[in-house]
């Protein structure tokens, strides 16, 4: 029945002719009156058991179409959860790949792997960021049971503690807003298990930092006001930088087409760092946290900064490598995360 529906759609799009198709698919040639339909077979990657056989699949259907068809017959496996490969040991196919462009005959065999329950990237980001925002404020306002009873609901007498609270909240507030309005995620989902791992890391780190910064026995920075001012400057500069980079990356993906592009410096001075670095969003993030560490002079913050730096370097190196693989003309001056160094 579904194959019939596809056929009907195919007939309609043929007759539509000049009008632009909703998805950027190659239009079937007007001359050919016969379309060679594909047959699609889906096997389980472990048991090699035949899970589904589809006949009369349109050659211009994408992997996502096939996943949707598979989902219709197996309701528990929504498309985000499916991984289809041509070869049991190969890489998964992308959703945008088109059936007729794959190295298959007219009968395509796909191997299916269940990726497990998935959760949208945006959702994970939101939960990751709302946690620290709220948790820090619990410590800042010195809610009961955290510190000794005589300090309940008191305020710190150090200005730097108040500034730190504003900065920390601003940072996570900005992240939340960016997740809602700025970021365009190339991967839709991640495995559900990740949410526990990610959230426990962010939430526990925030609690650990907040405990010491807002502690009644907190010691302000050694060099006093000048240290705080300098650190605040660094922090704000890097926050602006991070925002500029996120906007620049968003504008790269504006037209909705999925082709990857190299990011270049724009008129915004904060993006000029693209000339030297592949992933300046991570560079600015590191800068922000270094600023925060300097501002609060707190070892747990330093620890969080270092761990974050290590993780972001791993990500930046991966991204840099994929840029180099994708583009032959990729600027050679660029480093993954730190100009000329890393």
């Amino acid at each position: 029945m579904d194959a019939l529906a596809l056929e009907a759609k195919g007939a309609k799009s043929e007759s539509a002719g000049a009008s632009a198709p909703p998805k950027p698919r190659p239009k079937p040639p007007q001359k050919a009156k016969r379309i060679v339909y594909f047959e699609v077979e889906i096997l389980d990657i472990k048991t090699r058991e035949k899970l589904l056989l589809l006949d009369k699949v349109e050659p211009t259907s994408t992997i996502l179409d096939i996943k949707s068809l598979f989902h219709k017959s197996n309701a528990q496996w929504y498309p985000a959860r499916q991984s289809l490969c041509l070869d049991p040991k190969g890489k998964p196919l992308r959703d945008e790949d088109i059936l007729q462009e794959l190295p298959v005959g007219t009968t395509a065999t796909f191997y299916f792997r269940d990726l497990g329950a998935q959760i949208a990237w945006g959702t994970v980001f939101l939960i990751e960021c709302i946690g620290p925002l709220v948790i820090y404020l619990l410590f800042y306002f010195r809610l009961p049971l955290i510190y000794a009873p005589k300090y309940e609901f008191t305020a710190s007498r150090h200005l730097v503690v108040h500034i730190a609270c504003v900065c920390h909240s601003f940072h996570y507030g900005k992240r939340i807003l960016e997740t809602l309005f700025v970021h365009r995620f190339s991967h839709g989902t991640m495995p559900f298990r990740n949410i526990f791992k990610n959230c426990s890391y962010y939430w526990c780190s925030a609690a650990w930092m907040a405990y010491y910064i807002n502690h009644p026995l907190y010691t302000p920075p050694y060099y006093g006001e000048s240290q705080v001012k300098a650190a605040l400057g660094i922090f704000l500069f890097c926050q602006l930088g991070s925002f500029s980079i996120h906007m620049a990356l968003r504008n790269l993906k504006l037209s909705g087409c999925k082709t990857k592009k190299i990011p270049y410096p724009t008129k915004n001075p904060f993006t000029w760092i693209f000339a030297l670095v592949s992933c300046p969003n991570y560079t600015y993030e590191l800068g922000s946290w270094l600023g925060f560490t300097l501002m609060t002079q707190c070892v747990p913050v330093l620890f969080f900064t270092v761990v974050g730096f290590i993780q972001m370097t791993v990500w930046a190196k991966g991204k840099h490598r994929s840029y180099l693989k994708e583009f032959k003309q990729y600027p050679t001056l660029r480093s993954p995360i730190l100009p000329f160094i890393l």
Binding site: Y212, I213, H215, L217, Y218, T219, Y222, T296, Q297, C298, V299, P300
Partner: protein, 241 residues
């Protein structure tokens, strides 16, 4: 063209030769290492038995063997290096965690907290470690020499069923016994206020270590029970008790 092909095979032979010599050196070193460790732990075992036979009590036994124990247990750090450079096929992290937990017990519990050195639980875990390590290192030695007596293999794969829980009990009881002394002396702890704005309480840290025995030892124990290969290979590392 022909000379190019010849060059190719000559290069191949050279790299194969290099690999073979590297393999031979690695085997020689590992054999020496395992024999040395077997000998070390045997010396420890003999010293303990002699002390007990002479004095009739376990009091003061730890002091007597402390240096030897610390030396050979610390030397085991090399095993992490073996995994890192690949001459032993075990995960660096698994070996690292096991060696670290041993080093922690020896240096940061029994060495630092004098008052618990005469506890029975200390003797318990030291005896368990000695038996396990002698079995383990002799197993590796015989393996490398390709001549494994059946009783060593049997001991390696069966003794841990008894040794393992005994070792865990010994270690946990020792840490538990040390708690009051740690609390009173405030050792290895950093209090607020200080310019680093961080604090560390060794007392609560030890409690967390005790609690972590449950998930950690459970997971390494599970990993090792799958390592019951009928065909022993170089680096098969049963969980260090």
């Amino acid at each position: 063209m022909a000379s190019g092909e010849e060059d190719g095979t000559v290069e191949e032979k050279e790299t194969n030769n290099k690999k073979r010599t590297k393999g031979a050196i690695a085997t020689a070193w590992l054999t020496f290492y395992n024999i040395a460790m077997t000998a070390g732990w045997l010396v420890l075992a003999v010293a303990m038995v002699r002390y007990y036979l002479q004095k009739g009590t376990h009091k003061g036994l730890y002091r007597n063997i402390a240096r030897t124990l610390k030396f050979f247990q610390t030397f085991a750090l090399l095993e992490v290096g073996h995994c890192a450079i690949g001459i032993v096929r075990t995960s660096v992290i698994v070996t690292g965690v096991q060696v670290c937990s041993r080093i922690f017990m020896v240096w940061f519990v029994t060495n630092s907290i004098r008052q618990i050195q005469n506890e029975e639980s200390v003797i318990l875990f030291v005896v368990v470690w000695t038996i396990t390590e002698i079995t383990r290192y002799s197993f590796y030695t015989f393996n490398l020499l390709n001549h494994l007596p059946y009783f060593i293999k049997w001991a390696r794969y069966n003794m841990f069923i008894v040794m393992y829980p005994l070792g865990v009990i010994g270690e946990l009881l020792t840490i538990h016994a040390s708690l009051p002394y740690v609390r009173r002396s405030g050792m290895y702890s950093l209090r607020l206020p200080n310019k680093y704005n961080v604090s560390f309480d060794y007392y609560y840290f030890l409690i967390i270590v005790m609690l972590s025995y449950i998930p950690c030892k459970h997971s390494t124990h599970n990993k090792t029970s799958t390592c019951m290969l009928p065909f022993p290979h170089w680096g098969c590392h049963v969980s260090g008790v």
